[in-house]
Symmetry: C2
Subunit: 429 residues, 2 copies
């Protein structure tokens, strides 16, 4: 029965019941973590073949005669660029294969713009008295943190079911030349799971921007992370941008971090040829090249787009099972209470949950008291402040199944208790 | 017989002889490269054990329970920090183990100072109207390129047999607050092979600097790259700096790039705890961590300082053999000509050769005509301009022995011809 239609006495009863339940959960001294989108050990084991394959020096010589054990080849192995091209649809020539972290590539892009500016910049960004960045929210905390660290004012725009609220985005970027860019996770967005609609992609490519050097940070982290057999389809933003001559605004990233090993995989970035030509001499000063042996190990294991997609189906099976465990607990415990909603994404790593307004922080706090770590409430918003204090990002992939059930129970009980505390103006613990 | 004491006719005869020899060399259509300090295939093969060792998921769990296959541990594996500590003498707590490129770590240090400044900076470096950096020359071209790219004026200071000319360094940094730092390769310096004397290290640690945020970029790339049984000893700069309270000025780098695989190894940086505390939150925004699986593979292969040093002796044997091949050719062909000198370093990757003034560029050009690529003359000086046009950096490690003999012959012949051209004011080709 929904809390919203319960009598005061019924609520009091519910409160006592949940408080007792929560006490019992606290007594279990749990130590569980739903805070980060980390693959589970079971998922990591899927790539054992890469880890265990012995290589010889001979294996390290590519068909072009490149020795992966030695310096050089800043752009990455040609075969690796081809694989990323097959998977993303971006032409090979626009792709650079890099090290283990796509986040670092994003940071480096903004860092370069700060010091050197971009081709159409009137001046390096560090000399702009004001600089702003659009952060669709709920969104990815680490994106927001980069632009915050570089001194941008973070502009919150609502995430909708089709991507960022484009009416607002278009209006803002058209009138404000200090807005230098927007963060996007266009497929299975972190944390809402939304895939941008074709119209959203088109409008992002087409929109007029007051800043000549406005950029779209296109973090397509989950592009091959479908959970259903028929995954979402994302319109190719480079093709759209070419229609409007805006391809220089697109900075595209993805990685194999959640394909093989988190933090020990291979990342890539893609951009217009124009931007490659500008970036290349700066990056060539920074490094002679990225780790080609790890690129090679990935190639030998992932082989081609088809084999990679088959590998991703094994991940999907595990991730979907975890998602369903958490759904089931939430549905059973909260389904009829009318106090929370959660997403059921078709890909990616997160479930996004909204509590009643003003209950997210307290839910998080209660969970922590019972030994369940959630991503801090507010983290999915700029500056870590959720104006309605309702969004929680749930990352169900890492815990083993039994722990996940337990964590779900704590979360559900904490959500109920936090809501009841608010409705009754009491404090359980 | 020395060219300097030859008669005009003898020089003419020599000229004709060398020109004929050079024509014959050109006719061989060689394709040889002495330009970069790359390990040879024979050296790369020394680390085959690392490449070929199959790992299991279980191997990836460290004694602390860290799964190297998953996110986290920004500072790098504890055992890896310990190994670097044993090898460098720098306390573990000051060491961060990173990715495959120490050059990238250096670039990132300057980049951070540009945008955020250092602790004692009056303002971020990008806001300094003038900024300068001391470049001991001959020195490492990629160092100079970083500061040039970031808009520093490069100040040339002579390299002596004991390190940079400290009288000049001390005077410059004491009087000019726009001088923000100095590049140093303190052991087996690139390209002269000099190891800084204790006095030089002490003076660098002790010197008064007009800039409160002056830094010493301490690229100890060749710290374990001895060629002789008794390697050079370098004074520990952190210990010295502590005596004068200047440890915040030291930024220390090294890597295993020439221990295992060039471009696929593990780099580290070390700094004062104060600087770690300042850098850490910025770097934590950039990446969740570096590739721990590659760190683990290195650990399993290199084991400890003793095993690593034993491994380096195998490298030394190969590198020393290459060095001697080139010495022998140079000695035989140029030893009595009085027109060139070259170093005989006790470690590192380079031989530094000085021709007669004004002959380096032409020597380089002639070599190229005969299919032998040298590092461009001037590269070892700021802006690529050697004021005396005499220094050549020779990298003998990469070619196989027979090629190296051939390359040495071309180099010697080109040196003679370039000198004779100058003395006789003629042009051979």
């Amino acid at each position: 029965m929904s809390y919203l239609t319960m009598s005061g006495i019924a609520l009091e009863n519910e409160y006592e019941k949940e408080r007792a339940k929560f006490s019992a959960l606290m007594a279990q001294n749990l130590q569980l973590d739903l805070s980060r989108g980390k693959p589970s050990v079971e998922q990591l084991d899927l790539s054992e073949g890469m880890l265990s394959a012995p290589l010889t020096g001979e294996d390290c010589i590519t068909e072009e005669g490149i020795d992966c054990r030695n310096y050089g080849l800043y752009e990455g192995l040609p075969q690796m660029r081809r694989l990323f091209s097959e998977l993303t649809g971006v032409p090979e020539a626009q792709i650079l294969v890099a090290g283990n972290s796509s986040l670092a590539l994003m940071y480096d892009t903004i860092s370069r713009a700060m010091i050197f500016g971009l081709a159409p910049s009137p001046r390096p960004w560090c000399f702009e008295e004001k600089r702003k960045f659009i952060c669709p929210a709920p969104g990815y905390d680490r994106h927001f943190a980069i632009t915050q660290r570089f001194g941008f004012e973070l502009i919150t725009v609502d995430m909708t079911d089709t991507g960022p609220d484009m009416d607002t985005v278009e209006r803002l970027v058209a009138e404000d030349p200090t807005i230098k860019g927007i963060w996007c996770v266009p497929m299975y967005a972190n944390p809402t799971g939304v895939t941008y609609s074709d119209e959203t992609v088109r409008r992002l490519a087409k929109m007029k921007t007051a800043a000549p050097d406005f950029i779209i940070m296109w973090d397509n982290a989950y592009s091959i992370h479908d959970l259903d057999a028929d995954g979402d389809k994302l319109l190719d933003i480079f093709s759209e941008a070419e229609k409007y001559g805006t391809e220089d605004r697109i900075f595209y990233y993805t990685s194999f971090s959640k394909v093989t090993y988190a933090g020990a995989a291979v990342a890539m970035m893609a951009m217009s040829i124009n931007n490659i030509n500008i970036m290349r001499p700066i990056q060539a000063v920074r490094t002679i090249g990225y780790d080609k042996i790890n690129q090679l190990r990935h190639l030998l294991f992932l082989k081609d787009a088809e084999t990679t997609r088959a590998h991703m189906k094994k991940h999907a099976k595990i991730v979907l099972r975890k998602f369903r465990i958490l759904y089931d607990v939430l549905q059973k415990e909260l389904g009829d209470k009318g106090i929370a909603e959660w997403t059921n994404p078709r890909g990616g790593y997160f479930i996004s949950m909204n509590t009643m307004d003003g209950c997210a922080k307290r839910t998080c706090e209660l969970c922590q008291m019972a030994g369940v770590i959630l991503t801090p409430a507010g983290a999915t918003f700029p500056y870590g402040i959720d104006p309605r204090d309702r969004n929680l990002r749930l990352a169900p992939t890492y815990p083993v199944d039994e722990e996940l059930v337990k964590a779900g129970q704590v979360l559900a009980c904490a959500t109920k208790l936090a809501t009841l505390e608010k409705l009754l103006q009491k404090r359980a613990f």
